[in-house]
Amino acid sequence: MRQPDWQIAAGAAPRGGEAPAVSAADIRALLADSGGLATDAATLSDEDDLYAAGLTSHGSVNLMLALEERYGVEFPEHLLRRRTFESIAAIRAAVAGLLLDGAPGGLEAG
């Protein structure tokens, strides 16, 4: 598996501090590739309801798998929920949380 880019960002961040960089632009690009939206992902704000924009259940599964590949994370059972993927902001928060949990010197060390 490809080395996740976040490790570079995490190394530069204060330990146990801010979430590693997860850019809305990256998520928007993954959404455009794998979400199967009826709407152009570029026109969506971070807070827009992705399900209202045409994200289907199968589309959200594809998006989840793409996010796992891109960031080298695995969504745990409690995040396999519809609301985890309801907006770009929600996805950012979820992925950032997973990266913090998994980062050396992250939450579990602090």
Partner: protein
Amino acid sequence: MDMRAEGTPVENGQAAFRDALVAAGLLIPTGVDGLYGRSGVFEDVVERFNDLITTWGGDDGADVMRFPPGVARHQFEQSGYLKSFPHLAGTIHAFKGDERAHQSLLRRLEEGEEWTDSQMATNVVLTPAACYPVYPTIAERGPLPADGALVDVYSYCFRHEPSLDPARMQLFRMREYVCVGTPEQVMDFRQRWVERGRALMESLALPVAVDLANDPFFGRAGRMLAASQRDQGLKFELLIPIASAEQPTACLSFNYHQDHFGLLWDLRTPDGAVAHTACVGFGMERVALALFRHHGFDVKAWPAAVRAVLWG
């Protein structure tokens, strides 16, 4: 003698109920878990229950369609079933070789070698749910009439989930009413059937509970699909304790597919919108088993009120 490893209390209960059904002659074992013959008494109960469904639903004017327990492979492939349930699907394979291949087949059979790997896929897949042939059939007709479409189907279905539980057969019958129309039309249909289904089953003096449910989607992605299905309240089941009191069995299900099949098959309402679909499914063997569990193996000794509902 039972040589199986000790199971959980639930599994032991299921196996004991199955053994009792076999001993009573209601089910005929084949040596494969989940594959049974049915006795005349068992079949009579299934047929009477099938007629009872028609008594409750027949006046709605559904278009009756009866398909064999196979769907065309091209329709199955387009249905998306393999995305969600690859572990349950059963494909039909057949011998397509020449005489030399036949000799090889017989030799391998004789010597106890693997022979099935040279079988080739046919264009028929075992029906996973009775409604699967309905959607492409309705799509062929073009845009829906103003009041939508209502179809009555009944078929044997196959799911590859061998189990000791006699209520989880690999080949079983499912009767369904399928509604295709606007979101309002199909939601009305489903709500009507949740109420009707409960009343219908209570008329048989069975202990029922209706609860939110999800389909057995495959893998981690499937857990996401299942959670999403529950979050949106898309599937309800009518549950009756059969082999286990702790884990009651889904005997009826009430499903709202949103635009899933509408998008797949380009089903359209008269104004051009993507149609929504819903269905109510009756697990025929499960209902028969629930009746045998709660009223006994001797149908002549069933409560008079229940006998009157089924046999008139």
